[in-house]
């Protein structure tokens, strides 16, 4: 659906994007991740045709953005960073204007605009001036502007910034719903959000593409630390020499002594052995009571941090 080929963007001697290439299939929801100034917005601006790359090309649904921008731009709905809007217009006027810009058929325009206002929950404010709306509503107006004209691709630059938790959940479920019949690219700082919504994640740092994969695969890639956390009651202090009894254990570390005399340990295993079963059976024999046991999880956050750091060293 979208193909980005060897995109480089230079500002003088500063390289904002360095030979970035990726492909996005139809119907995918893609999360664009990266620290501030990594090149996320630049990437989005190039895909939408707002700026031109120094080198490389972008094709949208097989249409080259640089050569046939009019046709390519029709396929894209863009919600830019910081939700720029025409404050002198009412919600309805704005959505209608966007529909006209995107050349929505005149006969169908009224109905389509009404549908979009309805589906983005803007009906009760449709005759209000945009300048008088709250941040959450402005965000939705911007979203409505992106949706109008039925583009196949939606590009959302930080769609949940500045919203309250309730609005964030609403926008997220809206994006998920839209993902069913659109290809969506969104950028975000919130990693949990990305792992919840997105099918795939693209990580960019310092203008370079570091990884493109599903959130789960990314988590697995860095999940080499095979640890188990246990909280136990151990009156005879048998934990000290437990390592000798289970050969698969590499390291036992006391993390915390709780007030109720239970202790929390982190136990590191050899290779990929799942220690949980062994621990459960042996601890029972030894008279150590397990209060809690859990396998250490790598989150997308860990994966992200590790990839960014590795990328920085290269």
């Amino acid at each position: 659906m979208i193909e980005v080929k060897n995109i480089t963007k230079k500002y003088g001697s500063f390289v904002a994007l360095d030979n970035v290439s990726f492909k996005i299939e139809k119907g995918e929801i893609i999360g664009l991740l990266g620290p501030n100034g990594a090149g996320k917005s630049t990437t989005m601006n190039i895909i939408t045709g707002y700026i031109e790359p120094t080198e490389g090309e972008v094709t949208v649904d097989g249409i080259n953005m640089l050569k046939r921008p009019k046709k390519a731009k029709r396929e894209i709905g863009y919600m830019p960073e910081g939700v720029p809007l025409y404050y002198d217009l009412t919600v309805k006027e704005f959505v209608n204007y966007m529909a006209e810009l995107k050349k929505v058929n005149k006969k169908e325009r009224k109905q389509k605009v009404a549908n979009i206002i309805e589906s983005t929950g803007l009906k009760e404010v449709q005759n209000k001036l945009i300048r008088n709306l709250s941040r959450g509503y402005k965000q939705r107006v911007s979203m409505a502007g992106a949706l109008v004209g039925e583009p196949q691709i939606l590009i959302l630059d930080e769609p949940t910034v500045g919203l309250d938790p309730k609005q964030i959940t609403e926008i997220r479920s809206l994006i998920k719903k839209l993902g069913k019949n659109h290809t969506v690219i969104l950028s975000s700082h919130i990693l949990s959000e990305v792992s919840q919504i997105c099918d795939k994640v693209i990580i960019i740092n310092k203008g370079k593409l570091i990884a493109i994969d599903t959130p789960n695969n990314l988590e697995d890639k860095v999940a080499n630390d095979n640890s188990v956390y246990v909280t136990v009651e151990d009156p005879e202090n048998k934990m000290e020499n437990i390592k000798e009894k289970i050969p698969e254990i590499k390291e036992v570390k006391l993390i915390l002594e709780n007030e109720d005399k239970t202790k929390q340990y982190s136990i590191k295993g050899e290779g990929n052995v799942d220690l949980r079963k062994i621990i459960f059976e042996l601890f029972a024999k030894e008279g150590i009571t397990i209060f809690e046991m859990k396998k250490a999880d790598t989150t997308l956050e860990d994966a992200f941090m590790q990839l960014i750091e590795e990328g920085g060293e290269k």
């Binding site: 700026i51 009019k70 025409y86 404050y87 006209e100």
Partner: protein, 226 residues
């Protein structure tokens, strides 16, 4: 393109800008109507335009300074530039919308013509030729104003550049005779006598086209350096 023209035109009247523009214009024209026409007991309707042309220098920037500067500052140009509309059409649409405001203002001035017709016989053909010249002058001013607005995101700077340039072209002939033919406002005087001078008309149109072309180039260039 019609969408942008409509929206731009509407925005002039959603904000006070359009009303201030037309209001100022008519106040000045009414004064000139008194001092240039009534005071001399003539029916030379076109004389108010002669003085009016100087007013144009100072109030055209009110219309043009926001055209691109404001969109750039608010980020709304992202919406415009990512829409399936070519730069040429965007620039033309903004130009046409501003020109329409001038046309409306000119239509308002027919009330002076009506007053004069009641008392005498003002010459309609000279009046129309004068108005055409006035429109051509206004169009070349607008196109320069739009160009100035496209190079900065600060409306005030755009306005100051525009007025500065107009005043410069106005006074250039005072420095050297070579510039006589380049003074936009001087070219207008022939129209007031009822002559459509081809050379002057072509100069106005060429200047307008040049400024609009430069605006398109500026915007296109910014795409690759932005």
């Amino acid at each position: 393109m019609l969408a942008v023209i409509k929206k731009e035109f509407k925005t002039y009247f959603l904000s006070p800008i359009g009303y201030i523009f037309i209001g100022l214009f008519l106040v000045m024209f009414s004064i000139f109507f008194y001092t240039d026409v009534v005071a001399f007991s003539t029916t030379n309707f076109e004389h108010i335009f002669y003085s009016g042309a100087t007013v144009l220098t100072f109030i055209v920037p009110i219309l043009t300074m926001r055209t691109f500067a404001e969109e750039r500052k608010n980020g709304t140009e992202q919406l415009l530039m990512t829409s399936p509309l070519s730069l040429t059409k965007i620039v033309l649409a903004k130009f046409i919308a501003a020109t329409l405001v001038i046309v409306i203002t000119e239509l308002c001035t027919f009330m002076y013509f009506a007053i004069l017709s009641y008392y005498g016989m003002p010459d309609i053909s000279i009046a129309l030729v004068t108005m055409l010249g006035f429109l051509l002058l206004a169009m070349s001013y607008i196109s320069f104003g739009i160009l100035a607005s496209s190079i900065t995101e600060n409306q005030i700077i755009a306005g100051v550049i525009t007025i500065g340039f107009f005043i410069l072209t106005w006074f250039l002939p005072n420095f050297s005779e070579i510039f006589t033919n380049f003074s936009l406002i001087n070219m207008f005087s022939k129209f007031v006598y009822g002559q459509i001078d081809i050379a002057d008309t072509v100069t106005y149109v060429a200047f307008t086209v040049l400024c609009l072309l430069l605006t398109i180039i500026v915007l296109q260039r910014r795409k690759s350096v932005r």
